[in-house]
């Protein structure tokens, strides 16, 4: 059962919330008694099921940012492409941005639909070893809006984690919406009985973005999610004509570099603004294979390499402690 039962009123606070059975919207709901009894607030059995299901996934990486539009989805997609370029690795990309799913377009999968198989939902494959899941595959048209409150979004995320038939995986990458709310809490909670390698935090250089990203870092600390490192995206633009660099999003407070130094976090790298990145995203192609020798592609590759190293170090650490 999802957090919001089918027969619940519109403002249902969710069966597992503190307000379950007590809020004013619970009046008249057929589940009110059950919710008020506290029975529904017991730990969700799905957490254990998800733990079991994903225990064989070697590495799980969340891509987070407090700020919108900094390039979380672009980075998630390219991380997935880069990891999957090693044909021996099985990679999955899960989009938990329920209201604004960008992954189908960026991965060139617009209009694809998810199929139900005996063992759950089958993801959509970009290549044999690169599987993708997004709510975008469940919508019937590009105009479809997902006007859902938190509890319903949480139910969907639970289904994504529990019911998608990924097969054996080396990497599971999770792209998130901006902020520190339902989607983020749900992902972290539903993954709490399984091992998560950590989060990659994306920011742009300006303080307007960093001020939100600091909150995201606090969030990670609060929920004890390790931080793999920070990526500064859209840092500087080199004019294709005169080759001068412009700081379109100026690092007025020292950029990600200063923030990382202050908070003692690794800076994984800086990716410049490049119009070809935006175009590749719109066309659903991998920028890494479109323009492999560009400074931005090189920056991506170095960042991916640091992430791979982090993950394999963590894996060996774990083996040596057990």
């Amino acid at each position: 059962m999802a957090d919001v039962p089918e027969n619940a009123p519109e403002h249902c606070p969710g069966t597992t919330s503190e307000q379950a059975g007590k809020s004013s919207s619970c009046e008249g709901c057929p589940n009110q008694k059950l919710c008020a009894s506290g029975a529904t607030k017991a730990p969700d059995p799905a957490i254990a099921e998800i733990g079991e299901k994903l225990s064989s996934v070697k590495h799980k990486i969340l891509v987070l940012s407090g700020k919108g539009g900094v390039g979380k989805s672009t980075f998630s997609a390219h991380l997935a492409h880069a990891l999957a370029s090693d044909g021996t690795k099985e990679v999955a990309l899960l989009d938990v941005d329920i209201c604004g799913p960008s992954i189908p377009r960026i991965m060139g999968l617009e209009g694809e639909q998810v199929h139900q198989s005996g063992s759950g939902w089958s993801p959509v494959y970009v290549e044999d070893n690169l599987a993708v899941m997004s709510i975008g595959f469940l919508l019937s048209s590009p105009d479809d809006a997902v006007i859902w409150r938190g509890p319903k979004k949480n139910g969907m995320i639970k289904q994504f984690l529990r019911d998608v038939d990924w097969g054996e995986l080396d990497y599971l990458i999770v792209d998130t919406p901006p902020g520190t709310s339902d989607e983020h809490l749900s992902v972290v909670q539903y993954l709490s009985s399984t091992h998560v390698d950590g989060a990659v935090i994306i920011t742009t250089p300006q303080e307007v973005s960093l001020q939100d990203v600091r909150k995201e870092i606090r969030f990670c600390q609060k929920v004890k999610l390790p931080i793999i490192g920070v990526v500064e995206n859209m840092s500087g633009f080199v004019c294709p004509k005169c080759k001068n660099t412009s700081q379109i999003f100026p690092p007025t407070s020292g950029g990600a570099e200063k923030m990382c130094a202050d908070l003692n976090l690794p800076l994984l790298g800086k990716v410049p603004l490049d119009p070809r990145i935006a175009r590749s995203c719109d066309e659903g192609k991998s920028f890494l294979s479109e323009v492999p020798d560009s400074p931005a592609a090189e920056a991506y590759q170095r960042i991916v390499q640091s992430i791979q190293e982090y993950c394999s170090n963590r894996a060996t650490e774990e083996q040596s402690t057990t």
């Binding site: 539009g69 590009p142 973005s209 909150k215 004019c239 005169c242 379109i248 100026p250």
Partner: protein, 290 residues
């Protein structure tokens, strides 16, 4: 709220497209719009503001429009920084929360949910129902006084904050929404969904703004379309919405926003400013005809 004449939401399905920036610049441009020309019969200024927004009672001292900005982005409130008000304490009076004014003349009033938080770096890790409850209280309880226009800045998406803010504002009035997008398909795709949201919730679409379209190199004047070009206008055509205009990607604008400076005053001759004022003009016209 009863003394607020027009309420305009700034929405986008996509994050980081400039909702907060456009809100800020429109508010600043609006505030100054009354002070530009002189010679009006009532207040000594010529046609200082579209008449529908100007009550004749308000005479010389407060000739310009009274503008309010309401920021309901709980997890990432940007407006206090963009309008350079820091982190003031908000006070309560008999009629509710007293907004924070950005100027001594009190022509621009601001209320941000960020003011209620203790530590600026602290994360607001709240699920929907809690956000809904706070926004509900918050929206109805600000003592705006008399306002010509209230602009509401929102987080990206079509979820709790949006539903909560609408539910509460609709008791008073909502003129409609401005939708902000960047030119790329990745963004217009999300904004198409936001349009559906507006239709389903009965919010009039006042128009679409294409932001970050075209970057003119300050060194050689070459224009690069970093985030593509034309997507906003195309989307407006496709969906039969009004197109309000394009705002270029301008490092002077992002720098002003960073420092909380008034771009509309610092660069009144820039192409970016003229784009903003033309958007404002079209917006005001459509507010007149509802």
């Amino acid at each position: 709220m009863s003394q607020v004449k027009h309420v305009v939401l700034v929405l986008s399905g996509k994050g980081g497209v400039g909702k907060s920036t456009i809100t800020t610049e429109l508010a600043l441009a609006l505030r100054h719009s009354g002070k530009k020309v002189s010679g009006h019969s009532l207040c000594g200024l010529a046609l200082c503001f579209p008449p529908c927004l100007r009550q004749s009672q308000r005479l010389t001292t407060l000739c310009g429009p009274q503008v309010g900005v309401l920021d309901v982005d709980l997890c990432g409130p940007s407006i206090p920084r963009m309008l350079s008000v820091g982190r003031p304490d908000v006070h309560q009076c008999d009629s509710g929360w007293v907004p924070v004014y950005t100027d001594a003349q009190k022509t621009l009033a601001l209320m941000s949910i960020g003011f209620l938080l203790d530590d600026p770096d602290d994360a607001v890790v709240w699920r929907g129902p809690k956000k809904t409850a706070l926004i509900g209280q918050f929206v109805s309880d600000v003592a705006w006084g008399e306002l010509d226009v209230l602009l509401v800045d929102t987080p990206p998406g079509t979820s709790d904050e949006h539903l909560a803010v609408l539910e509460n504002l609709k008791k008073h009035r909502v003129d409609g929404a401005i939708l902000v997008t960047t030119p790329q398909a990745v963004s217009t795709g999300d904004v198409r969904r936001e349009i559906t949201f507006c239709k389903r919730t009965g919010v009039r679409i006042l128009g679409i703004v294409e932001n970050m379209s075209g970057f003119v190199c300050p060194h050689c004047s070459e224009c690069s379309n970093i985030f593509s070009k034309g997507g906003g206008e195309e989307l407006a055509k496709l969906t039969g919405s009004e197109f309000l205009g394009c705002v270029p990607l301008d490092p002077l604008l992002s720098a002003s926003i960073e420092e909380g400076k008034d771009f509309t005053q610092s660069f009144p001759d820039s192409a970016t400013f003229s784009a903003i004022s033309s958007i404002l003009h079209t917006l005001l016209k459509s507010l007149e005809t509802d």
